[in-house]
Symmetry: C2
Subunit: 200 residues, 2 copies
């Protein structure tokens, strides 16, 4: 496997299918990671952007507000227990919460702690929107850089059909219940279908 | 099958796993439906809310801005060709775009056109946020009511493990490529794991 940069014009493909994500941030030596199901593509143009809902009670939020940066990463099925733990515990009460998490850093991004062994990473800068942040816990991030592990995401596409299923993304529901992607298919519409109505 | 109201305190479960959605709206007799991958839970409290990215070029956006209402619904696999068509065509150029779509209406919600045969429906009212709408194409909706088809969603949970796979949600990627949920599992963490670190 090799971790490769992803063209920002297709950054959304890392999260377009709605996977559960991990959000990390740091201030100095203080790092944290939270689980987040509520992160979503916002835009490509003029800059790539995404949204993330980050509660005021999350320790990670303080780090994001202080540093102005955060990372949205897509964990894989083999990390599912870790994801549930990161989403079930808080560094507010467990200072050692992420002591066993391995991080790596991309060149030029020393303030973006990247959780190791994920499938993909989106390195973001907060676009300050105090009303959204204070009223809705809604953060908008400009995506500065993106990376993906080519064992599961290559040539701009997920390899769910052929890769080890332990590398698949997870889709959290509630009460510890996770769903995993299985089948995929590519649909090509006929000219008739694209006319919008077969009665026309 | 029976369509049943869903408790709004768990409305997010219809979309927590990141399915591709259909967004519909109407003004008088003018109805439309668009496909949307970029819709996401925003909050439960004090009111249930979600976000949706709706481009200024979408015909549906005009209907939403005029009526103040929209519906986010979760289509099923058997509707995949329809979803791709609804996302590949515009009523701006095809006035008959939704003539063959069947709609139903919930009691008390005559301005919320519900696309038939979906798995679930979230009936929303726009919370006006002109800056978000104009700058980011980002709409915030308060969820007024929710319904689900108990053949695929019952007792507050999806029945992906046991229901006909044609009823599963779809997760769009790009270029006609759809993923479908397959396996699911429920994880229960040990006390040791919840301590945050096994070294502690």
């Amino acid at each position: 496997m090799a971790i490769k940069p992803l063209d920002l014009t297709i950054f959304n493909r890392l999260i377009n299918h709605g996977p559960t994500t991990l959000i990390s941030a740091q201030v100095g030596a203080d790092r944290n990671v939270m689980a987040c199901s509520w992160s979503c593509t916002l835009d490509f143009f003029p800059t790539p952007k995404l949204t993330a809902v980050i509660s005021a009670t999350n320790y990670t939020r303080k780090l994001i507000e202080q540093s102005g940066y955060f990372v949205v990463q897509v964990p894989t099925r083999r990390q599912v227990r870790t994801v549930l733990r990161l989403g079930s515990t808080s560094k507010n009460y467990q200072p050692a919460k992420v002591d066993e998490i391995n991080f790596w850093y991309a060149d030029g991004y020393p303030e973006h702690p990247l959780v190791a062994d994920c499938a993909g990473w989106l390195l973001c800068k907060v676009i300050p929107e105090p009303h959204n942040q204070n009223t809705y816990d809604l953060f908008i991030g400009e995506v500065l850089a993106a990376f993906a592990d080519d064992e599961i995401f290559a040539d701009g596409m997920w390899k769910f059909a052929t890769a080890d299923k332990e590398l698949h993304s997870m889709h959290y529901m509630t009460d510890g219940q996770f769903h995993y992607l299985g089948e995929q298919e590519t649909i090509v519409l006929s000219e008739e279908e694209l006319k919008g109505t077969t009665k026309a």
